[in-house]
Each structure stands twice: as structure tokens, then as C-alpha cells.
């Protein structure tokens, strides 16, 4: 299910806390990074590792906005439109992404390359507007700069 490296990491992580389930949130995030999304199999596997029921794991997953049970694009474009970004054109960047990628909020391109999401504050307020593609920050954006960012990923 997981790479050997990740499996080992998980084995270590559950020992970092007095209870195994404490490692749950990071484990889910790392598993998602590797597998792409939290499939039923991933959930069952992790539930076993932390000695919880699948239900309990699902309860936790559905709480955190970074965790997904459905596949996302290879590059998940997350555009902040919260107040600091709003004041500096975050909405325009988001609109531009919609046009450019041909998809809307929480949608994925048919090719599976890009998915788009309007997100809450990313902690880049002083460098607004900001976008995160997967975990990479792109800041001080304009629609033109956003184009370059998207191109850069499309080329990868």
C-alpha cells in the first residue's frame, strides 16, 4: 500500500506519542501525498495502524480541509481569496484560474492534471495575493504571473 520508506516513517510516528491515534492526522496527510487521495484501502490500512475503526478515521478525515477521499488533480491549485488577498486581487486571480483551467471550485480537469480550489487564508497575507500549488507557495500574483506559474507546472 505504502512505500517502504513511508511505512517505516509511520511505524516510527506512532511511537512519538503516548497513544497511537495521535499520529493519525499527519499519517493521513503523508498517505495522501503518496497515494493521491484517501481511498477506502488507505483508510482501512491506517485505521489498523492506529487501532481505530474505519468510522473513526473517516470522522477525522472529513474534519480537515486538506484531506480528500476522492482523487484530485496532479497539481492542486489553491487560491486564497481571504481578506488580505481579496484586497490585492485574489478574486481576480481565482477567476483567471477558472478561465485558464476551464474548471471551477473543487473541480478537476478531465486530464487529471489540475484541480482548483478557492481556499482560506494561507498565511501569506503580507505577500498577497497568494496561491499554493500542492504545497508550493506562489505569492504577489497577478493574472499574468499566475499564467507563468501554471505554465511551469504544465511543463513539468
Amino acid at each position: 500500500m505504502f512505500s517502504e520508506q513511508l511505512s517505516k516513517k509511520f511505524d516510527k510516528m506512532v511511537t512519538n506519542y503516548p497513544t497511537k491515534r495521535s499520529a493519525l492526522v499527519p499519517m493521513l496527510l503523508f498517505a495522501q501525498d503518496e497515494v493521491g487521495h484517501l481511498s477506502d484501502e488507505v483508510i482501512a490500512n491506517i485505521a489498523k495502524r492506529v487501532e481505530l475503526t474505519d468510522l473513526e478515521v473517516r470522522n477525522v478525515i472529513s474534519y480537515y480541509s486538506l484531506l480528500h477521499t476522492k482523487p484530485m488533480g496532479k497539481y492542486h491549485v489553491q487560491v486564497c481569496t481571504n481578506i488580505s488577498c481579496l484586497l490585492r486581487g485574489g478574486e481576480e486571480v481565482f477567476e483567471h484560474c477558472k478561465q485558464k483551467l476551464g474548471i471551477g471550485h473543487k473541480q478537476t480537469q478531465a486530464s487529471g492534471l489540475f484541480s482548483l480550489e478557492e481556499v482560506e487564508c494561507l498565511g501569506a497575507c503580507s505577500w498577497a495575493p497568494a496561491v499554493q500549488v500542492n504545497y508550493d507557495f506562489h505569492e504577489n500574483l497577478t493574472p499574468e504571473r499566475m499564467d507563468k506559474v501554471l505554465e511551469q507546472y504544465a511543463k513539468k
Binding site: T53, D54, L55, E56, R58, N59, S62, Y63
Partner: protein, 789 residues
């Protein structure tokens, strides 16, 4: 007592109230008659402070505080009724109603909905919003549980009762914010014990039951609190009944008022498995075998035939040629009457029932020491419990719940010795998995024979674990020992003796079916009279007269065999199905005149010469004794046209054989007996009748068909049953101490057949319960075919 909590005084809306320090404010107020509203708070469950309805103003605190989380302290000054507090509560209700559908006119909860009550109380009727409400379609999670999501107000009671109380953890909370939703453990459906606790605890109509939804309105029902007719725990269940084509049908079972030994606990059977009562296969007329086939007959025809044939056999072949098999689901009064009828009117000791535990050996072991017996009430606060065998979660769900509640709220310690990996081990402090049936060996080990441990180890349990468990056990000076039906005969005497090395010890014996204990206590044994009195030495029962047979009669197996061989002239079977158990084939009992009283045409009934349609426990008054000896009153809730109570049937048969009824039922002897309190839904009329009689200076008298008349005699003659009648008739359970002097019934362990019911089976009743069958089908793919009584 050192641990008596200190009382403190607080002021609520200018009124001084006293309560133990540390009591939650909401409870202190409730006990003083001051209502603080809440949705999420539920006594005994973990605190949530989520609904914000119980906010109050407490002096010296900056914000409104939730009364459900604040423990009271001396001098606390609280405002529960002020504009500020009322406004806060009103706003909460207003905002809830924003998304809550206003479908009260069709909602199951309409009329008994806590949100409705709050809306009326706080006047939040005006709509503030223009946007559309969130809507999601209703979901069916199981045959029992339906979820109407928009109605859910997210109080989390269901999640907690399922997890904390039931230890099932089948419900969770998913998503967040306004998208939060209660979710079942299997995505779109539930896999659980189907107890329905989540439904009953729901303050609104979000969770509804398959048996009740959209069927009726709360105010259209009468409610009668009676005792569940399924397992041996004796939960009180309040039945909601309604007029139907066939009399009165049961539409709902619950125990929301928390009266009774079970609080608000019920399992699937107590809540939903009452539907056998309206099963289309129920017998509505007597059947008499004519030309080899059972055909409808009038009551007179049937009684005449029975009276004539019983008399003939008795007078020509003697009482020993008649056999009587009683029931584990009839009342104490019926069981007592049946054995009295058998012995006194028919002159036979050929009487038995389906035995599910060795009660006679237990009674003998604790003889003369009633303090060694435990009521179910002892379970919740016993500091230590030793469970020997059995699977309470499946067979004694209430006992299991009481044990879990003890551990959860009172810190009791549970020790389990079992040859199976039962679910309750999750609550145990110490658990020993021993080889199949090695309980006697364990007692040997317990008594100090270390070497016995070598024969007790399994893959899961090593010798040092056993030693450690024994070490811990020995330190307990207040122990409750629970014996499963696997422990019988001299093993019972051994453990009872061994247990007495503890400073304080109590025992309980686990048997199946609603009144197995009552059947045993009332002397449905060929060698024991009521109260485990040996037939050879009848004692108080000598008043039955000189003709009382002195030697032991035939047991069930022998009676069935004698029926097959034609040695029995007549066999009278009341609410039992022995022909299925002993594999009797049609035609095999042709030489014996067989009379069966039952609700359904069971295997046994289908081979009978006369079948009399009888009532079930929900259709009659009387009393049940649960397996722990707790005596409780049954009240008549429902009616089924064309059937009669077993009590009435026995009396009418006695009448037709020409027996003097006054010698059977001591009726007309004054007013000590019940005048209607036991009649449940019909009690109002009976009570008024009694008042009229007394007002007109008439002396109310009992009829020979009134079970209360014989309850007088039970109390007078059966050792251990002279309990507080006031308490019993007020609807409480009263612990009986039927600890006979006898040495026990015929030592024949083969006659003890535990029912091995699961949560979803219940002998014959289960076979005719669509609810249980649909649940069985869901989990196993097949319906219940348990051969049982």
C-alpha cells in the same frame, strides 16, 4: 458515612436550594424542580456544552455559563429566568429552526419533540430568513433505524449512547460546520446491535424506528409499563398501544421515563420485537382435531372435550397418566396455578418446563442465606464483579449494560473467566480465556490448587495471568459473582462455598427466557413444589390436601417419551414447544390426548388434539421473576381478539373437569389483592369501578379469573416471595429470595438446555417477529430457525 458529600446552598432565581457539592448545576436545579432546558445534556453521558440551551447567568462570571458543565459551589447565585437568559435561548432555537424542517405535522416526534417544546417555551416562531433550508433525503440505515438528516440538531446524544453506553461506537460525526452530519459506521448503513437507543434518545424526529415511523401520533396511544417478554433480565418496557382490528395493537416499546430496573435501556427485543403480537399467523379460535385434522371449534366445544378427556384419564388410569409441561414465558401466577392444578386437580407430579439453568442447585447452595443472592440492582455499584461463563452482551443485554455502566461511572472492576472471547472482555480488568467448559477446574485453581492452572491455559491466557487474576480477586472484599448456566449441580455449591471467603459476596445465576426463574420458583418440577420444596416433604403445601402425590413425577424428556409410547393418557402443554426439541413426528403421540395452549401453531401445537389460542405476556397481568430473582408486575397492554390468558384457560379447564374453583383460586377472600392496578391500559376503568364499589359500601371481591387472587397464596406459601406488595404494585422491582431447603431437582444436567439466543433471536417469539427476522436476514442472510420455546 465518610463519603457522604457535603451539601451546599445555592440561589436560583431567588430560591435557595441545597444539593451535594459538585453536583452539576443543571441537575441540582432539576432535583429542586427548576427546569433548565437542554438538548445535548443527558445524565450519565459525557458532557458536550454544545447546544447552549442551558445557559444561565452566574454572579461574578463574565459570560453566560452552561449549567450542564458548572459544578455548584457554596453561595453560587444563579439567574435562570431573565430577559437575557430567555433571549439567549430564544436566539438558539430561532437559529436552529432556520434549517430544521417544519414538518411537525408528519414527524414521528411531533407532540413529544424537545425542540417543539422549546419553541413554545421561548416563542421563537417567527421566521427570520429568506434563504432555502438545507435538504437531504431520509436514509434507511438498518431495518430498525432511519435517519432524517435535516431534522437532526446535532446534540450528539445518539453518538454517545451508542458508544459510551452500548460500547458499539457505530455512529460518528463527519464533516464540519454546517455540513456536520451524524454518520453510520458502514457508509450508508449501520452495523450494530440494533438496540434503538439512538432513536429513543433523539430529542427530535431525526432518528426514527422502522416499526413506528409514520404509524401514529404520540397522543393516539395509550401507554402501559410492563415487563419485556424476551430474555431473563426483566427490563421494564413501556408499550404504546392503539386500537386495531384485532383488539389493541402494540406500536411502540420504550422506557423513556427510566422507571424500572433498566433505566432507559432496552435491547432490540424490548424496543421492537413486540410485533409477534400482531403476526397474521396468530391463532384466533380454538382448534380441535376432527378426522385427523385440526379444525376450528367453539370455546365450549374445546373446553368440554378437554374436561371430559382429562377427567376420564385421571379417573381411569390415575394422575400418573397425565403429563403437564409449563412455560418459561407465562406469569408466576399462571405457573403456580398450573402446578397446583396438576398436583391438586389432576393428581400428578408429572410436571416440568424447559429448564435453562440449574436454579434448584443454586437455591440449595444459598439456602438460608438470602444475603448471598444479588438483585440486578446490585450490579451497577458492585466494586468488583466476577463473571463466570456466559455472554451477557448477547443473552443478558441489560446485565451487560449495567456492568459497563458500573465500570464507566462507578469504577467497578470486572473479572471474566470464559471459554469464549466475549465482547465484555473489553471492559474487564482481568480476563482469563480457559478451555471449553473448564469452570470446575478453575474453581479448583481458585481454591488454591496451583497445579490446576496447567489445565486452564490457552493461547490467550498463560499461567502467570491466572495467578495474577487470582491474586487480584483475593483482594476484593465485596464481590459479585455471576454464574452462567454452564455452571451446574455441585459446581454451584463449590463456587458458592468458595466465594464466601470474601468479606462480602453475592451471587447471581443466569438463565434464559422472561420467566424461567419464575417457572422454577413456582415449582414446575416433577420433584419440587414451589420454592424448591421437595414433593416428599410438602411442608406448607400440605394444605393442598392428602391426595397430593408424594413421589417424583416424570420430567419433560420422560413425558415426551411416555407420550410416544402411549403410556400417557393425556399431555397438557402450556406455552412450550417440546415436540420440536425432542423431535416428535406427527402421529407419534396419537395414543395420547394432547392439549396445547399457544399463540401460534408451533410444531407441538400442530400435533395436538386441542389447541387453545393464548395470550402473550403483553396481553395479561401478573408477575415475572427475572433470573436474578427480581419480582416485577406485568400490566396488560394489548388485546388480541379470540385469545385468552393461560390463567383463564387453566381455570376454565379445571371448571370443566368439575374441580371446585375455590379450592384452586382463593377468590372472594377480601381486598388485599389488586383491583385493577395491574391492568395497565384498562386500569382507569377498573379503578373507577373499585371506587364505586367502596363508595357504595360494597366489598370488592376477586373473581376466580383474577391472577391477583392467587398472588396472595404465592406470597403466603412460597418461601422468599413474601415481599413488599406496596413496592411491587407501585411498579418497582422487588427482590425475592426463593432459597429453598430442598437438595435440588432430579440431577439430570441433560434437561438443562440453555436457549443460546443471540441479540436477534428469541425462541418462538423470535420466529414470529418480523423485526428480528429482518435484522437476522441483514446480518446472516437467513431468518431465525431456532428450535426453542
Amino acid at each position: 458515612m465518610a463519603d457522604t458529600p457535603q451539601l451546599v446552598t445555592i440561589t436560583v432565581d431567588g430560591k435557595q436550594i441545597k444539593a451535594p457539592a459538585g453536583t452539576l448545576l443543571i441537575d441540582a436545579c432539576k432535583n429542586a424542580g427548576i427546569e433548565i432546558p437542554s438538548f445535548c445534556y443527558y445524565p450519565g453521558l459525557s458532557l458536550q456544552a454544545a447546544c447552549r440551551m442551558c445557559v444561565v447567568r452566574i454572579e461574578k462570571m463574565p459570560k453566560l455559563q452552561t449549567a450542564c458543565t458548572v459544578p455548584i459551589t457554596e453561595g453560587m447565585v444563579v439567574t435562570n429566568d431573565s430577559d437575557e437568559v430567555r433571549q439567549a435561548r430564544k436566539a438558539t432555537v430561532q437559529i436552529l429552526l432556520g434549517n430544521h424542517p417544519l414538518d411537525c405535522p408528519v414527524c414521528d416526534a411531533g407532540g413529544e419533540c424537545e425542540l417543539q417544546d422549546m419553541t413554545f417555551t421561548y416563542g421563537a416562531a417567527e421566521s427570520q430568513y429568506m434563504e432555502t433550508k438545507q435538504h437531504k433525503d431520509e436514509q434507511q440505515w438498518s431495518p430498525v433505524v432511519y435517519f432524517d438528516r435535516p431534522r437532526c440538531i446535532l446534540c450528539y446524544r445518539c453518538v454517545r449512547v451508542c458508544g459510551e453506553v452500548m460500547d458499539v461506537w457505530a455512529l460518528g460525526i463527519q464533516n464540519r460546520g454546517v455540513s456536520s452530519v451524524i454518520a453510520p459506521n458502514k457508509g450508508d448503513h449501520l452495523e450494530c446491535e440494533e438496540c434503538g437507543a439512538c432513536i429513543d434518545i433523539c430529542p427530535v424526529g431525526a432518528l426514527t424506528s422502522g416499526t413506528y415511523r409514520y404509524k401514529t401520533r404520540p397522543w393516539e396511544m395509550n401507554h402501559t409499563a410492563t415487563v419485556c417478554t424476551h430474555c431473563g433480565d426483566g427490563c421494564k418496557t413501556t408499550l404504546g398501544v392503539r386500537r386495531s382490528d384485532t383488539g389493541t395493537e402494540i406500536v411502540r416499546g420504550d422506557n423513556r421515563d427510566k422507571s424500572g430496573i433498566n433505566g432507559d435501556f432496552l435491547c432490540i427485543k424490548g424496543r421492537y420485537a413486540f410485533d409477534f403480537q400482531q403476526h397474521p399467523d396468530r391463532l384466533k379460535m380454538p382448534l380441535v382435531r376432527k378426522n385427523g385434522k385440526l379444525a376450528y371449534a367453539t370455546w365450549d366445544e374445546a373446553f368440554d372435550l378437554i374436561g371430559r378427556r382429562f377427567k376420564e384419564v385421571r379417573d381411569s388410569q390415575g394422575g400418573a397418566a397425565i403429563g403437564v409441561i409449563g412455560s418459561t414465558r407465562t406469569t408466576n401466577e399462571e405457573n403456580y396455578l398450573l402446578q397446583k392444578f396438576a398436583r391438586k386437580a389432576l393428581g400428578t407430579n408429572n410436571i416440568d418446563h424447559h429448564r435453562t439453568a440449574d436454579y434448584p442447585a443454586f437455591a440449595a447452595a444459598v439456602a438460608g442465606k438470602p444475603e448471598l443472592t444479588a438483585s440486578l440492582h446490585h450490579v451497577e455499584k458492585s466494586p468488583a464483579i466476577l463473571l463466570l461463563g456466559g455472554d451477557p452482551t448477547e443473552q443478558h443485554p441489560l446485565l451487560a449494560e449495567r456492568i459497563r455502566t458500573n465500570i464507566r461511572l462507578h469504577g467497578g472492576k470486572l473479572f471474566i473467566v470464559n471459554d469464549e472471547e466475549i465482547k465484555l472482555r473489553r471492559q474487564s480488568k482481568s480476563y482469563a480465556h480457559i478451555p471449553q467448559g473448564a469452570y470446575a477446574k478453575f474453581f479448583e485453581f481458585l481454591s488454591g490448587t496451583d497445579s490446576a492452572a496447567d489445565q486452564l491455559t490457552t493461547a490467550g491466557t498463560k499461567k502467570d495471568q491466572l495467578l495474577a487474576m487470582r491474586e487480584l480477586l483475593r483482594k476484593e472484599d465485596d464481590l459479585l459473582i455471576i454464574l452462567s448456566a454452564d455452571i451446574r449441580g455441585k459446581d454451584i455449591a463449590t463456587i458458592v462455598k468458595l466465594g464466601q471467603s470474601h468479606k462480602k459476596v453475592r451471587f447471581m445465576m443466569l438463565g434464559d427466557y422472561a420467566n424461567s426463574r419464575g417457572a422454577a420458583d413456582m415449582g414446575l418440577y416433577p420433584d419440587l413444589l414451589p420454592g424448591y420444596t421437595p414433593v416428599a416433604n410438602a411442608g406448607a403445601f400440605s394444605e393442598y390436601g392428602a391426595n397430593l402425590p408424594k413421589s417424583a413425577g416424570l420430567d419433560t424428556a420422560a413425558m415426551v417419551e411416555a407420550g410416544r409410547s402411549g403410556k400417557l393418557g393425556a399431555l397438557y402443554i402450556v406455552g412450550a414447544n417440546p415436540f420440536a426439541r425432542y423431535n416428535v413426528q406427527p402421529g407419534q403421540t396419537a395414543k395420547t390426548f394432547v392439549v396445547v395452549q399457544d399463540m401460534f401453531l408451533t410444531e407441538t401445537a400442530s400435533m395436538a388434539d386441542v389447541v387453545l389460542p393464548s395470550n402473550n405476556a403483553y396481553e395479561k397481568a401478573g408477575s415475572f421473576t427475572n433470573t436474578y430473582g427480581d419480582l416485577q408486575l406485568l400490566k396488560k397492554a394489548a388485546d388480541f381478539a379470540g385469545s385468552k390468558s393461560d390463567f383463564e384457560l387453566i381455570v376454565r379447564i379445571a371448571d370443566r373437569i368439575g374441580f371446585e374453583l375455590a379450592d384452586l383460586v382463593p377468590f372472594g377472600k377480601g381486598v388485599r389483592a389488586d383491583m385493577g392496578q395491574s391492568r395497565g391500559a384498562q386500569s382507569g376503568e377498573a379503578d373507577r369501578h373499585e371506587i364505586w364499589l367502596i363508595a357504595n359500601k360494597y366489598e370488592p371481591k376477586m373473581s376466580p379469573l383474577d391472577p391477583s387472587a392467587i398472588f396472595d397464596e404465592i406470597q403466603r406459601l412460597v418461601p422468599g416471595y413474601d415481599v413488599s406488595r406496596l413496592n411491587l404494585f407501585s411498579g418497582n422491582s422487588v427482590h425475592s429470595h426463593a432459597t429453598g431447603k430442598g437438595t435440588g431437582a432430579q440431577q439430570n444436567p441433560e434437561l438443562i438446555w440453555p436457549a443460546n439466543d443471540t441479540l436477534f433471536t428469541s425462541g418462538t417469539l423470535g420466529r414470529y417477529s418480523n423485526t428480528l427476522n429482518s435484522v437476522m436476514e441483514k446480518y446472516t442472510g437467513e431468518t431465525s430457525e431456532v428450535m426453542a420455546d
